[in-house]
């Protein structure tokens, strides 16, 4: 009982206060019959029937709908094996290996079957295990969602908790505050008397402001558990579809039919906010729900390098087929012409594999043999090694302590290891805003009251600029990084006499309040000259809002449920200033006022007469209230331009000062609002009030226009009080990170669902925009009537805007001029059309920064695709919400921000990090390393296998193309698997050209990736040529050495085993020397692997020589080769001959065309960075791509500005300081 009573108390009828958008005139609902709005219902595409509160019907046909169980896995237990195997053999290379494995069971194969099948099984098995583990993770995630609990009506007015997955269409559910909706629901009633509720749709569209939903009038009485005892109704509506913003359906209840529109629909994955509970009936479950319909299967992505590698593999395939053809033709010719004479082969007893009477057939059989024999050109182990290396690289990413977030306890996660090297080649970053760049938390930072600016806390831009100025560094060579690194000091004194304090050290950690100024705190404001204006200012803060206070009964502290975080910040600020809003009733707002710190508090009640709430068109909100003295006041807060237009003649006292402050605030990226008030005469109000009431009860489409007009009448003749500046709190380290990414030469686009002003503010805060940047705004002019050719007109106007913008960019002479493109969602819709998108993209690529606002999730994905395909470079999308999923999946690399609620983005992503700032390390350090590692590794792999594989081919020419290999089967098998795999894996896992610090200090090094310096055709062909040379050297040198002569003093000659083993020894030495020359970085692991591989080879032939299985290799090392000086002499000769060309190449390159990392290595090696620190610092500051965005560019501009000021009014500043 008590619970129900408690609930009653906070029931408010919001419709009395709210006037705009969310409410239609109540009459409209009932007026609609099935024929009008629901005309389509029942027709094709609108066949769904839901029997409310009767889920049993939906458990069987014909109205059986899927359950609420969701599954995003690719496989299940039964389909895993066939499907995963199928997936594996869709890779051409694997198919080739499978074929060879099958053929190895026939006598055609030159090797034993095991040596062909085992590696394939290993590779495929490993990949399948990887797939399996990834899918298992998805399954666990699904289970977590499926096992969430929700209260479901089980009959007789009783509710019980059930798993989400057990939910059925038709179930009545009760969702409580801050819970997610388990399915798409029809809202029946809420804890508010008029059936409204607040919904946060961040997971759907990324918008952070709450949306108001409202139930049908007729279901309002269903407000208690008991009332569902006999509730019966039928919903007829559209079939499942992915459109988030539409809904067509009818609600049949008590023999009446009501139309349902999207206002009554609560979508799965959105969240109930500011509302104690709601009742709803399930319409769409599981995969039928709109959000699931929106989800697309995550595409499997492959990195650029891997795609290029495929191309190389095709080339090698061609080579393979070519040499196989040569072999088989040679074989056929030999069979036909020579074999009949080779009596020692008993040609008369031939089988069909080498039948001199049918050489063509034998040739064809031999082709297969040759394809298998030369298969070493296409290394199966390449795939295994790359998979393995990538998994290990991913492990290092996961383990990186510098990407661990203490707050959320999350590490960076490489969710797929396919794209590690792609991280090193990113060209454009597309970033979401809310939750990615910002925390979605507002901090009250500054205010301007009566023309005086208060608040000494400073934004990060000011801070760094000040720091640099103060340090007296006249040249700009001092890297800014140092400024940041040192900025943990408590604060510094700037010439102007203002103390700047550092963000981290802000005194009190009150959420939403970072204001610092003793002039206003602790009641000191009463001593300020304009204390009455200040009082008004605080009252406006405390009264002009739509929030509800929530008292924590244990501590007595109050938190606020506000529609937007700005509003919450204002209320917290008002509370801190001594104006604590603590209670709201139907008609009044109660504030506890405490004017000075010594005096006690007084409770004041203000009667709310009207509330004209905010919407994006009005850009202002007002409240009309009556204070205890009976005075009627109108408080209005809104965008400065709007307020300034509405000021009274006598209300402009502070306009000049305030607007100057507003500019300053805006420049530092703060969100500003102007506050004003107006005193109303009783008579004036009552006449307006009646008109307003009339407008409010208007029925029909022009109701809103009416309301707007009437509101406009009263919101005039305002008196300016001041302005607020709220910091949209950026995530930690975001501006720095953006700055460095910009210096690394990356382009950054911001795509946000938020409105343009907010986006621009954030642009400023992140230094993507700055004063002096030429801004090109693309938007569709509003105010057009619903004309036939509106679309065409809009398009033409946009076309013109783009053309103008391009013209402007083209005509710009100043090389330092920067352009910023800001585009609105509506304009973007046109700009993304086929005929315009290239124009748009061209303009966008010319601009230093691009910000897209009001973008839908679909558009985000489309923009990403446009950039990806239009520029043809690697794109990276980063976001945190479900609305970013499309873009994350579309981009070459998708990065999800984890830690915030909602896992959709992370689930769809390839990498997840918990803070935007970790992106820098992920790209600049891990990306750079992984790119180089994989590129070098693949090049080396091709080298190694060409060097090895071709020797087999050359030997064929000397063995009558018979398919005999000069090497023992076991050597060949072990070559890739054991003898040469570990060094190349260690190259792929541990190689570092420069250390991580240097990667971060020299962002320009990152450009080696996007420019693809390490995997271009020049390099690939160079390595292949090197492989060809090595194979020739190894084969022919050995051939000449072991041609026919005795090999040792004992007079013995070399047989095939001795020649083969010597050649193989040379190969092992040559390829390992090569990798040793390639590596820049030897830890004990590399030493162990490289030298260990060579040692292993000797140990292997030693051990292998002990067994009789080894045939001719029995005791090969101990008896035959070991005591033979020629063997060792030959090894040395061939190894040197193979290494010298590469050694010449790298020596020459380093001495004449050193790359950046070479020079830096030398500086480090010679410890020049320690000896000549100024040079080191200078180079660090220069090691950046020319960029016009980012903090550094911004600070440069700021410094110029401050210098200019100092020159102008130097002396006056000192006076200011004294006063």
């Amino acid at each position: 009982m008590g619970r129900a009573g408690g609930r009653r108390r906070d029931r408010l009828r919001w419709s009395k206060l709210y006037t705009f958008s969310c409410f239609r005139a109540p009459a409209t609902d009932e007026a609609v019959g099935p024929s009008s709005a629901g005309g389509a219902v029942g027709g094709p595409g609108f066949s769904r029937v839901v029997h409310c509160n009767n889920p049993a019907i939906h458990r069987r046909k014909p109205l059986k709908y899927p359950t609420n169980y969701i599954s995003t896995t690719k496989y299940n237990i039964i389909t895993f094996l066939p499907k995963a195997i199928f997936e594996q053999f869709r890779r051409v290379a694997n198919l080739y290996f499978l074929l060879t494995a099958i053929l190895s069971l026939t006598p055609v194969c030159p090797f034993s079957a095991v040596s062909m099948i085992a590696p394939l099984a290993f590779v495929v098995g490993l990949s399948m295990i990887k797939e399996g583990v990834e899918d298992w993770r998805r399954f666990i995630q699904d289970m977590k969602v499926n096992n969430r609990k929700v209260a479901v009506h089980k009959g007789d007015g009783q509710f019980e908790y059930k798993h989400w997955e057990d939910l059925c269409v038709g179930d009545v559910v009760k969702v409580e505050k801050d819970q997610f909706f388990p399915a798409d629901l029809l809202l029946l009633s809420s804890s508010y008397e008029d059936g409204i509720c607040y919904v946060e749709t961040m997971n759907l569209d990324g918008e952070t402001n709450l949306k108001v939903k409202r139930s049908l009038e007729v279901t309002l009485p269903l407000e208690e558990d008991e009332s569902f005892k006999d509730f019966r109704a039928v919903i007829r509506c559209e079939d499942p579809n992915p459109s988030l913003y539409t809904f067509v359906g009818n609600f049949e209840y008590e023999r009446q039919v009501y139309a349902i529109d999207p206002f009554q629909i609560l979508l799965r994955d959105s969240k109930l906010r500011n509302t104690a509970f709601i009742y709803g009936v399930v319409i769409f479950t599981g995969h039928d729900s709109k959000v699931m319909q929106n989800s697309t299967e995550s595409p499997s992505k492959r990195s650029r390098i891997e795609r290029k590698m495929d191309l190389i593999i095709y080339i090698l395939f061609t080579v393979l087929v070519l040499i196989s053809l040569i072999s088989s033709i040679g074989f056929a010719v030999r069979i036909k012409l020579d074999l009949p004479h080779w009596w020692y082969l008993q040609p008369q007893n031939s089988n069909k594999l080498d039948d001199p009477s049918r050489p063509a057939l034998s040739g064809i059989f031999h082709l297969i043999t040759a394809l298998i024999l030369y298969g070493y050109l296409i290394p199966i182990s390449l795939y295994v090694s790359i998979e393995l290396v990538k998994v290990l690289q991913a492990h290092f990413i996961n383990q990186d302590i510098h990407m661990f977030d203490e707050e959320t306890g999350n590490t960076a996660q490489a969710r797929t290891s396919n794209l590690n090297e792609e991280l090193g080649q990113v060209h454009t970053i597309l970033s979401d805003k809310t939750g990615t760049l910002t925390c979605n938390q507002m901090d009250f930072l500054k205010c301007s009251i009566a023309g005086i600016s208060y608040g000494v806390g400073s934004s990060e831009v000011e801070l760094a600029a000040a720091k640099q100025m103060a340090s007296g560094a006249d040249d700009q060579d001092i890297p800014l990084r140092d400024v940041w690194e040192e900025s943990n000091a408590d604060g510094i004194q700037l010439v102007e006499g203002v103390t700047f304090s550092v963000g981290n050290n802000r005194k009190a950690s009150i959420k939403g309040f970072s204001f610092q100024d003793d002039r206003l705190m602790q009641g000191n404001w009463t001593k300020e000259p304009n204390s009455s204006t200040i009082l008004l200012f605080f009252r406006i803060l405390g009264l002009c809002h739509t929030a509800i206070p929530e008292i924590n009964e244990a501590t007595g502290s109050i938190t606020y449920e506000a529609e937007s975080p700005d509003e919450g910040a204002f209320l917290v600020a008002a509370r801190e200033f001594g104006f604590e809003f603590f209670k709201r009733t139907q008609s009044s707002v109660f504030v506890r006022e405490k004017h000075t710190s010594s005096k006690g508090t007084t409770e004041r009640e203000f009667k709310i007469l009207n509330l004209l709430e905010f919407n994006s068109k009005r850009k202002r909100m007002s409240v009309i209230l009556k204070d205890e003295d009976g005075q009627i006041l109108l408080f209005c807060k809104g965008a400065d331009s709007i307020i300034f237009d509405r000021l009274a003649k006598n209300g402009r006292m502070y306009e000049a000062d305030t607007s100057k402050h507003l500019n300053d605030y805006g420049e530092t990226g703060l969100r500003t609002l102007a506050l004003s008030y107006r005193l109303l005469e009783e008579s004036e109000y009552s006449s307006w009030s009646s008109e307003f009431l009339k407008a409010k009860t208007t029925i029909g489409p022009d109701r809103e226009l009416q309301l707007e007009r009437v509101s406009d009448l009263i919101e005039r003749e305002l008196i300016l009080v001041g302005a607020t500046a709220v910091e949209d709190k950026l995530q930690k380290g975001v501006p720095q990170c953006i700055d460095r990414l910009a210096q690394a030469g990356l382009k950054i686009w911001v795509l946000t669902g938020d409105k343009m002003e907010t986006a621009i503010n954030i642009g400023y805060a992140c230094s993507l925009l700055r004063q002096g940047m030429k801004r090109i705004c693309l938007s569709i002019p509003t105010g057009d009537q619903v004309a036939q050719d509106a679309k065409k007109a809009a398009k033409e106007s946009l076309m013109l805007q783009i053309a103008n913008g391009s013209q402007m960019v083209k005509l710009e002479k100043d090389p330092d001029a920067a352009f910023a493109l800001v585009i609105d969602g509506k304009a973007l819709a046109f700009a993304l059309e086929d005929d315009m998108k290239h124009m748009f993209l061209n303009l966008a690529t010319e601009c230093a920064s691009v910000i897209c606002c009001r973008v839908s999730p679909k558009q985000k994905a489309l923009v990403t695709r446009l950039v990806k395909e239009g520029i043809g470079q690697t794109t990276l999308a980063i976001g945190d919400g479900a609305n970013d999923v499309g873009m994350i999946q579309e981009a070459d690399i998708g990065v999800g921000i984890s830690g915030v609620e909602g896992m959709q983005a992370v689930m769809a992503s390839d990498f997840s990090i918990s803070q935007f700032r970790f992106l820098e390390r992920l790209l600049v350090v891990h990306g750079h390393w992984c790119y180089k590692r994989i590129a070098q590794m693949i090049c080396y792999f091709f080298y190694k296998n060409i060097a090895f594989g071709l020797t087999i081919f050359y030997f064929e020419a000397f063995a009558g193309f018979s398919g005999q290999s000069v090497y023992d089967d076991w050597f060949m098998l072990l070559f890739n698997v054991v003898l040469t795999s570990l060094p190349v894996i260690s190259l792929g896992v541990f190689e570092q050209d420069v250390s991580s610090e240097i990667c971060l200090q020299f962002p320009a090094l990152y450009q080696q990736g996007p420019k693809n310096l390490f995997f271009d055709w020049y390099r690939i062909l160079g390595w292949m040529g090197n492989g060809l040379y090595s194979s020739l050297a190894i084969f022919f040198l050995n051939l000449c050495i072991f041609y026919d002569q005795a090999i040792r003093a004992g007079g013995q000659t070399a047989d095939m085993a001795a020649v083969g083993t010597t050649m193989f020894t040379c190969i092992i030495w040559a390829v390992n020397m090569q990798i040793a020359l390639t590596m820049n970085h030897f830890t004990w692991i590399q030493h162990l692997f490289v030298w260990g591989s060579i040692t292993t080879w000797y140990l292997f032939i030693l051990a292998y020589g002990m067994t009789l299985r080894s045939r001719d290799n029995y005791q090969i090392l101990l008896e035959v080769l070991g005591p033979t000086p020629l063997y060792w002499v030959a090894t040395l000769l061939v190894t040197a001959a193979c290494s010298i060309p590469y050694l010449i190449h790298i020596s020459y390159q380093r001495s004449c065309n050193p790359l950046d990392h070479h020079v830096i290595q030398e500086i480090k090696y010679l410890r020049k960075d320690v000896e000549d620190q100024t040079m080191w610092k200078r180079e660090r500051s220069k090691a950046r791509q020319k960029t016009k965005i980012g903090f550094t560019a911004r600070v440069d501009a700021k410094i110029k500005q401050i210098r200019g000021k100092l020159h102008k009014k130097g002396p006056s500043l000192t006076i200011h300081t004294v006063s």
Partner: protein, 341 residues
């Protein structure tokens, strides 16, 4: 308060997810980072040169010290026009006498080789055709799977040793006399010891060998175990190339310069049908084996090239010096000012 309790729990669990610091996981293992400084480059090339040239000269001189006599006899030892018919006729006398004059003194031991050309011992069909088990173990006579087409006699009994290799055993024989005085040819220890002791059984005797219609090469003494049939053991080590030499025996006496060696050759082996050649080789050895100038020349050549390269690099560093770690070579310092972005 229960709330704070759970909070500290979650804090602890968050902490526990923190990766443990280790130099390995953070990729900060101490490493040596060798750098190709001019000194190292010049040093490396010089070193290779300095090491290689002496080795090359030593090999050359060793090779020069070897005395080698090669006598191709396949053409001369057959007078008939139908060479193939002659060689295949089992009844004709195939003895052939050759005289060789020794140009330089030859120190013992003098190795005797037969050299075949254009003979594909490395043909896959040939290499495969043997049974190691059978050669090794008495009980494995039936393991003849790989020996086709020379696996079993017509009545199905396994041939020991089976396969094409054994079947085509070389069967020319040489008898030597120096200055008309016949000398002994030592045919012991011409095979590797391990072959004799481990790969060819001392209790395995030839059976059914060369008993079929087709007779390939030499016959074996049925009374001797395989481990003592050294000619077979040498032959069974297939050569890598179609031109090859195999050890026939050794002469354990010194031969003076201008001595005359007379060889009586039983010219039995058919190289005529496939156009191969046969030669008798007498050679002394040194530490690098037989007469092998190539290795010495190659060493001297590579050593010379390296010394030359070392000089080139010296010149390069003098003509176009670059101070190590000179920042002006960094790409951002090289960029021309009008470079777009």
């Amino acid at each position: 308060m229960s709330l704070s309790g759970s909070e500290s729990d979650s804090l602890a669990s968050r902490r526990s997810k923190k990766p443990k610091y280790s130099k390995f996981t953070q990729q900060e293992l101490p490493a040596c980072k060798p750098l190709l400084t001019p000194g190292i480059v010049i040093g490396a090339f010089s070193l290779i040169g300095i090491v290689f040239v002496p080795i090359g000269l030593a090999s050359l001189s060793a090779s020069q010290a070897v005395v080698e006599l090669v006598d191709r006899y396949d053409a001369e030892c057959v007078s008939a026009n139908d060479k193939v018919g002659f060689i295949q006729d089992t009844k004709t006398d195939k003895a052939c006498t050759r005289t060789i004059t020794v140009p330089k003194p030859m120190k013992r031991p003098i190795h005797i080789y037969y050299q075949l050309e254009n003979y594909y011992q490395n043909h896959r069909r040939y290499v495969k055709s043997r049974s190691d088990k059978q050669l090794r173990y008495k009980d494995s006579a039936h393991m003849i799977k790989n020996c086709e087409p020379e696996a079993a006699s017509e009545d199905g009994a396994p041939i020991v040793p089976c396969g094409l290799i054994a079947w085509s055993l070389f069967n020319d024989t040489y008898a030597f006399s120096v200055n008309k005085k016949s000398i002994e040819v030592n045919k012991k220890n011409i095979a590797w010891d391990s072959d004799k002791s481990n790969k060819f059984g001392s209790d395995v005797y030839p059976s059914n060998f060369q008993k079929g219609d087709l007779i390939g090469g030499a016959k074996l003494n049925d009374k001797l175990p395989l481990s003592e049939q050294e000619d077979l053991i040498v032959w069974m080590r297939t050569a890598a190339l179609p031109t090859f030499r195999k050890l026939y025996g050794r002469i354990e006496t010194d031969i003076m310069a201008s001595d005359e060696i007379t060889v009586v050759i039983q010219n039995n082996y058919n190289t005529y049908s496939f156009g191969g050649t046969k030669a008798l080789v007498l050679s002394t050895t040194s530490w690098i084996g037989g007469k092998n100038n190539f290795i010495g020349v190659a060493y001297v050549a590579i050593g010379g090239i390296c010394l030359f390269l070392a000089m080139c690099f010296v010149v390069l560093y003098v003509v176009k010096p670059r101070v190590l770690g000179d920042p002006s070579y960094l790409s951002w310092n090289k960029e021309t000012p009008d470079h777009p972005n």
